[in-house]
């Protein structure tokens, strides 16, 4: 407790030793300790079944932790019913009340708080102003497009000025362009209102765009919690490296460990000098992680630096703003290299080349 006092004072939400099981045999959330500061935008990111939605539901009050305690603003809330928590929530399929108009939906959280009619009207107007849906106030949810419903759901979760708003994959049902637009809109609302947001998604692009911090979930455990750039640039394990962004993985055995670097003998032949981010010691297996944009192509037998690996071009893919080359490198036939536009012009199938990368761009992580 004494060590946590300062954190408790700052943190709006604190998960402490949370475990959750539904069937009494299998833990969906194995061990969760997480502090969320006031005003922060934290994303829970992970594949389905990783425990991120369960975590959100425990915070909202729809699921009870099997073990541990959740603090909201310093108060334990494990046994507090959801309607007393004062947490706004945006649901996956919006959950707008179909028998009420847009304005009635927005007025609902205010009227259950017994606010004055005039105050309700003013707040509803402000909310409609914020989402720019003033003309549609008397429509029913069924008469709105997906994006409009999304905005109403967002406004409804914010209209009663909760200290915290939860979003459970709120953009999952929208098409790509609208999703990107809504990401920016949610970010704008977060910045102007200063509200604390806990956001659940399985879309890593969405998480990178919007979050202050991202908690990467897998198998009921937070693998890493960090800012978007730290997650991308400095993943602490192979799961995070693979889950966030494109990643080239090469397996090998640590031959020599000399902090901060190590030498790794690859299974497919050749040695590489890598940053020893998460290795167990000399003679232990490791998986190297190299981002496609950190790799340079050189002619066969060319290139310089400590890390040069022979490669064979398998395929090139034109993607408009850039191009990708798929290579076979040290037994990995899905090794990708990001090239500038037109960079793929001189490459052909079966061509032998050399890939080079700097030791600091190659992280030696846990073996998979």
């Amino acid at each position: 407790m004494d060590g946590g006092m300062t954190v408790t004072a700052q943190a709006l939400v604190r998960f402490q030793g949370i475990q959750k099981t539904y069937d009494g045999e299998h833990l969906v959330v194995k061990s969760l300790d997480l502090d969320i500061a006031r005003g922060e935008f934290v994303t829970l990111l992970g594949p389905s079944g990783s425990g991120k939605t369960t975590t959100l539901m425990m915070l909202a009050g729809f699921e009870v932790p099997t073990h541990g305690e959740i603090y909201l603003d310093g108060r334990p809330i494990k046994n507090m019913p959801p309607h007393k928590r004062d947490i706004g929530m945006v649901f996956q399929n919006y959950a707008l009340f179909p028998h009420m108009t847009v304005a009635e939906n927005l007025a609902f959280p205010l009227s259950v708080r017994n606010m004055l009619k005039s105050d309700i009207a003013r707040r509803v107007d402000e909310a409609l102003e914020m989402i720019k849906l003033q003309p549609l106030r008397n429509r029913r949810p069924g008469q709105l497009s997906g994006g409009q419903q999304q905005r109403v759901a967002l406004a409804r979760a914010l209209v009663f000025n909760p200290q915290l708003v939860l979003m459970d994959e709120p953009l999952g049902a929208l098409d790509k362009r609208l999703r990107e637009h809504m990401q920016l809109e949610i970010k704008r609302i977060h910045e102007t209102t200063g509200i604390t947001v806990v956001y659940v998604t399985h879309d890593q692009g969405e998480a990178l765009t919007m979050s202050d911090r991202i908690a990467v979930f897998n198998d009921g455990i937070i693998q890493q919690i960090d800012s978007p750039d730290a997650l991308y640039e400095r993943p602490v394990n192979s799961f995070v490296a693979n889950f966030i962004g494109e990643n080239n993985a090469l397996s090998g055995v640590v031959e020599n460990l000399q902090q901060p670097n190590c030498t790794v003998r690859l299974d497919g032949g050749g040695t590489v000098v890598a940053l020893a981010a998460n290795v167990e010691g000399v003679g232990r297996r490791t998986t190297l992680s190299i981002r496609p944009e950190r790799v340079t192509l050189a002619p066969a037998d060319g290139g310089d630096g400590p890390n040069r690996l022979p490669a064979v071009v398998l395929e090139t893919i034109y993607l408009g703003d850039h191009a990708l080359a798929v290579l076979e490198v040290a037994g990995n036939s899905e090794f990708m290299v990001k090239l500038p536009p037109g960079g793929h012009a001189g490459l052909s199938h079966g061509q032998a080349v050399t890939v080079t990368f700097r030791p600091e761009d190659c992280r030696a992580l846990d073996a998979v």
């Binding site: 309607h83 959950a95 009340f97 609902f108 959280p109 259950v112 009663f160």
Partner: protein
């Protein structure tokens, strides 16, 4: 521009119709068997019933001369000699070809005793009375012929259609001046019976709603395994015949029945409670029989209500009771409407259950329809009662349609 090019010589609308025609024919062919079935088993009998409720043929067919003679009669006083002569001729003729019984029965509906008048006179007329003496002869045979009321009854029954049965079904009749007045008190029973029918229907509907709503809610919200089991219990009554179920209630509810024995054994009562052959028995048995018709529509509507709505409501600060009343309940209105309408319409047509477990004062309109159809063979009145019931039911269905359409909020296109 594009449209103009595309239409060519033939208007676009006509080409669309042509393109759609094959599909429409196929759709029509698919519904044709059902349409034919409904036509013969439903529409034609109902049409027949409606027609019988206004058809009034006996007197017109058996006594054409009298009807013709009375066509110009103002009804102010007993008609003159030509009418009597025509009547005498018609009575004699119809006695010979045996159509007189129908006339006697029809006129007896208007006033008790006219059967004797008609049959007696017809039996006595052997030969046509001499010209000019028809009146004397007939009044001598039965003084009723000298009364204005008798002739008024004849004229009112001269057909071929009349509102006699429909008015009777509503406890109304036409007086001698032809205006509609209420029937004498001792004959006025149908308005009471309709009132009782709708009262029992409403009561049963309310009981079904109160008992069925929680069951439907459970069914819609339990895990699949348990809800399937519960669903079997809901549907179980359909596996036995209506008659068996009703008789089972007689066994349970009677004075020496299971429930009374149990209550006496427990010591709650000393004397057996009277729960059968009265209104209690009717409510218990009908509610039991009709409960599934309330539960099933409610269940299907509740199944489609996502649990996310209740979660959203509580997350927005509504206590569970408020969330239920303001979010859940309004969304079940279509199911409640459909269930109530179904139960009510079935209930007001109920015959066998009230006939078996109800007392004399609990019989509903169907009992009287059956009585007039099979016992007294007064099809005109039976049809008229049926027609009134049908119209009341259709009005209700229309009101429901209006209410539900007004409630319709799934958005999208208005049709």
């Amino acid at each position: 521009m594009v449209a103009a090019v595309a239409t060519g010589d033939i208007p676009l609308k006509r080409r669309l119709r042509r393109a759609e025609r094959a599909r429409q024919f196929r759709a029509l062919a698919l519904v044709l068997p059902l349409l034919a079935f409904l036509m013969f088993t439903f529409l034609i009998p109902i049409g027949g019933m409606l027609w019988r409720s206004v058809e009034d043929p006996e007197v017109g067919q058996a006594m054409p001369r009298t009807v013709a003679a009375l066509s110009g009669w103002d009804g102010k006083e007993v008609p003159g000699e030509p009418a009597f002569a025509a009547l005498a001729a018609d009575l004699r003729q119809s006695y010979q070809d045996r159509s007189i019984a129908g006339v006697a029965k029809r006129l007896n509906y208007v006033s008790n005793g006219l059967r004797t008048t008609v049959m007696g006179t017809a039996r006595k007329i052997r030969d046509l009375p001499a010209p000019g003496t028809a009146r004397e002869t007939l009044v001598a045979m039965d003084p009723a012929w000298g009364e204005r009321a008798t002739w008024s009854a004849l004229k009112g029954a001269s057909g071929p259609v009349s509102d006699f049965y429909l008015l009777a079904a509503l406890d109304l009749k036409r007086n001698m001046e032809g205006s509609i007045v209420s029937a004498p008190e001792e004959q006025s029973i149908y308005v009471d019976v309709f009132g009782r029918t709708f009262g029992i229907g409403l009561g049963v509907t309310a009981l079904c709603l109160i008992l069925g709503f929680p069951v439907a809610y459970l069914l819609a919200n339990l895990p699949a395994g348990q809800s399937n089991l519960l669903m079997i219990f809901v549907l179980l009554p359909f596996w036995t015949s209506l008659l068996v179920r009703t008789c089972a209630w007689i066994v349970l509810l009677q004075g020496e029945g299971l429930i009374n024995d149990l209550l006496r054994w427990v010591g709650l009562i000393d004397e057996p409670l009277r729960m059968i052959y009265n209104r209690v028995g009717v409510f218990v048995a009908m509610t039991h029989v009709l409960l599934p018709f309330m539960i099933l529509p409610l269940y299907s509507v509740m199944r489609s209500i996502s649990p996310a709505y209740m979660r959203a409501a509580t997350s927005l600060g509504a206590p569970p009771a408020v969330a239920f009343l303001r979010i859940y309940l309004p969304q079940t209105i279509p199911g409640m409407g459909a269930g109530c309408l179904l139960v009510f319409i079935l209930a007001i047509g109920y015959y066998i259950t009230p006939a078996l477990v109800g007392g004399a004062a609990d019989q509903m309109i169907s009992y009287f329809i059956a009585f007039y159809t099979t016992d007294t063979v007064n099809w005109g009145l039976a049809s008229a009662l049926g027609a009134v019931l049908l119209v009341a039911t259709m009005l209700l269905a229309m009101v429901y349609g209006k209410l539900v359409h007004g409630q319709q909020n799934t958005g999208g296109l208005k049709n």
